[in-house]
């Protein structure tokens, strides 16, 4: 709560959008077996905002998402979600998609997609209807009765996103969502996500070590450094048209990418 900001290079507590913050993390620290994994993380994500966290492996990015989702409990600091008092569990109130699709092999795609709703007591008829509604834009309409093993990795990730999104939480966490896919599929899914994700009502926090992915998808990029994990820099991304297939080769895109690479390299060099 009252831990002093450890880094001065970033005003991580501020967000670009003018709307209210849906997710606020302040002074969050986490230790594992006497070594500090995270030290004093401050960040907030506003409504309609897409924020990316980039950093090298082992900087505690995934731990931070596990803390925000409620899977882990922070040793210090506060995490708050709009509309939820600080004492209540965040489990079930934050949508969380991971690198592995974690689909249940004995359930069809539709049954996997509706899992979150089912756990909240929504009837099969109603949750099935909601799955089918979304399935079209997710390109899954034809495979709803298929089993997970019959689908490609890219398709399975889309099912995982659908499952995460259906409970309609306002905060969405993405942990290396396309990290296990080949480069071509990854590129296609990044473009797809730009189109399919209704950002307006949500706050999205993406964790990745792919700088290009961060710049392409996010409005704001936070750079993390390890030992202990902390946010060391912040950059706002302004792009003309993200959905333009050529955007990744545009001058502004390349400039932002270079800037973030520089920030990461500086940090690695001083370790």
């Amino acid at each position: 709560m009252n831990s002093a900001p450890r880094q001065t290079s970033a005003q991580a507590g501020n967000y670009a959008g003018g709307t209210s913050a849906l997710l606020t993390v302040s002074g969050v620290g986490f230790d594992y077996e006497d070594s500090a994994i995270l030290g004093g993380i401050d960040l907030s994500v506003g409504q309609g905002e897409f924020v990316a966290l980039v950093g090298p492996s082992g900087c505690g990015k995934s731990t931070l998402l596990n803390l925000i989702s409620g899977v882990l409990t922070p040793e210090s600091g506060q995490i708050s979600i709009a509309g939820l008092d600080g004492q209540s569990s965040r489990l079930g109130r934050v949508s969380y998609m991971q690198q592995d699709d974690l689909l249940l092999p004995w359930r069809t795609i539709e049954q996997n997609g509706r899992l979150g709703l089912e756990l909240h007591g929504v009837s099969n008829a109603e949750s099935g209807r909601l799955v089918r509604e979304l399935a079209d834009s997710f390109g899954l309409a034809d495979v709803l009765d298929s089993m997970p093993w019959q689908l490609s990795g890219g398709m399975r990730q889309r099912v995982a996103l659908l499952r995460a999104l259906l409970p309609d939480n306002r905060v969405l966490l993405l942990d290396e969502p396309f990290g296990a896919l080949d480069a071509i599929t990854r590129g296609a899914l990044q473009q797809w996500m730009l189109n399919v994700l209704d950002r307006a009502s949500k706050a999205v926090l993406l964790v990745t070590h792919d700088v290009e992915e961060a710049v392409l998808l996010a409005d704001r990029v936070l750079v993390m450094a390890p030992n202990p994990g902390r946010i060391v820099a912040e950059t706002t991304v302004k792009l003309e048209d993200r959905t333009d297939p050529e955007v990744t080769t545009s001058a502004s895109f390349v400039a932002i990418k270079r800037q973030i690479r520089q920030l990461l390299n500086d940090r690695v060099a001083t370790l």
């Binding site: 989702s69 409620g70 079930g92 109130r93 974690l102 092999p105 004995w106 359930r107 899992l115 909240h120």
Partner: protein
């Protein structure tokens, strides 16, 4: 598919047939006494002549097995759930369960007769003693094969521990569970016969015990045949239940296929 299944069973049937012919011929040529070793044809005639008697006693044995089996499944689920649910239960109960299997169950049967009498209860208990162990061990192994990440995924979706258990842990454990159930199906027959042997007034075990001293050797063999049929039938019933329950599960790893269907 069917054709290849039939073909794959052919060598086993051929071997069994050859052994039966050898048995028949040897008994006839060497003129072995019927009470010492009856020929297969004599055993089959006994099987048909005493069909009513054998069926009646097989019914008694089957009831003991089915009741014991049901109790074992219930007990196995309760114990295995307790073991994975709480460390205290695991530490206080699991070692005792494993140690209990070193006691020859056969020696417990006379005690059970003293304690609960010669009615169906004593036989059911012996069946349970034989069958609950493979069920508990296979379930504990199955429950523990759940991915930590899967459990966390359920938690982030807001699942209660009970929901996670029902919709994730139990389905994950099913393939292991059926493995244990197959072992239990086969040994359950042994359990029932031992129970009947020590003290009963009906059942195939009792019939065998009665027929032996009267030198009705063909009847003992006929009872053995019926017991084998019971065991195979129970095993196949478990296989059918398994096929149905796991019909949506992905096929096991490719290299397992070479080991056959069962």
């Amino acid at each position: 598919m069917l054709r290849s299944t039939v073909l794959s069973w052919l060598p086993a049937f051929a071997t069994a047939g050859a052994l039966l012919v050898l048995w028949e011929v040897s008994v006839r040529v060497l003129e072995v006494q019927r009470w010492l070793l009856p020929a297969p044809t004599v055993i089959f005639r006994e099987l048909f002549d005493s069909l009513g008697l054998l069926t009646r006693h097989a019914g008694t044995t089957l009831v003991e097995i089915v009741v014991g089996f049901a109790v074992s499944i219930w007990l196995g689920v309760v114990i295995a759930s307790g073991v994975v649910w709480s460390r205290t239960v695991e530490r206080s109960v699991y070692p005792i369960i494993i140690a209990s299997q070193t006691i020859p169950i056969f020696t417990l049967a006379p005690l059970l007769i003293i304690w609960v009498g010669t009615d169906i209860m004593s036989k059911v208990i012996v069946v349970v003693l034989f069958t609950f162990f493979p069920i508990v061990v296979s379930l504990v192994t199955g429950f523990r094969s759940v991915d930590r990440e899967m459990i966390d995924m359920f938690r982030t979706l807001g699942a209660s521990p009970f929901q996670t258990f029902r919709k994730l842990v139990i389905p994950t454990a099913l393939p292991n569970f059926f493995g244990g159930l197959k072992v239990a199906a086969v040994v359950s027959v042994i359990g029932a016969v031992i129970g009947e042997w020590v003290g009963a007034s009906a059942g195939l075990g009792w019939l065998m015990k009665l027929s032996g001293p009267q030198f009705q050797t063909a009847r003992v063999f006929a009872a053995i045949v019926v017991l084998s049929v019971l065991a195979i039938g129970l095993f196949l019933a478990v296989v059918v239940a398994e096929k149905w329950s796991l019909r949506k599960y992905p096929a096991r790893a490719v290299h397992m296929k070479g080991l056959g269907e069962l």
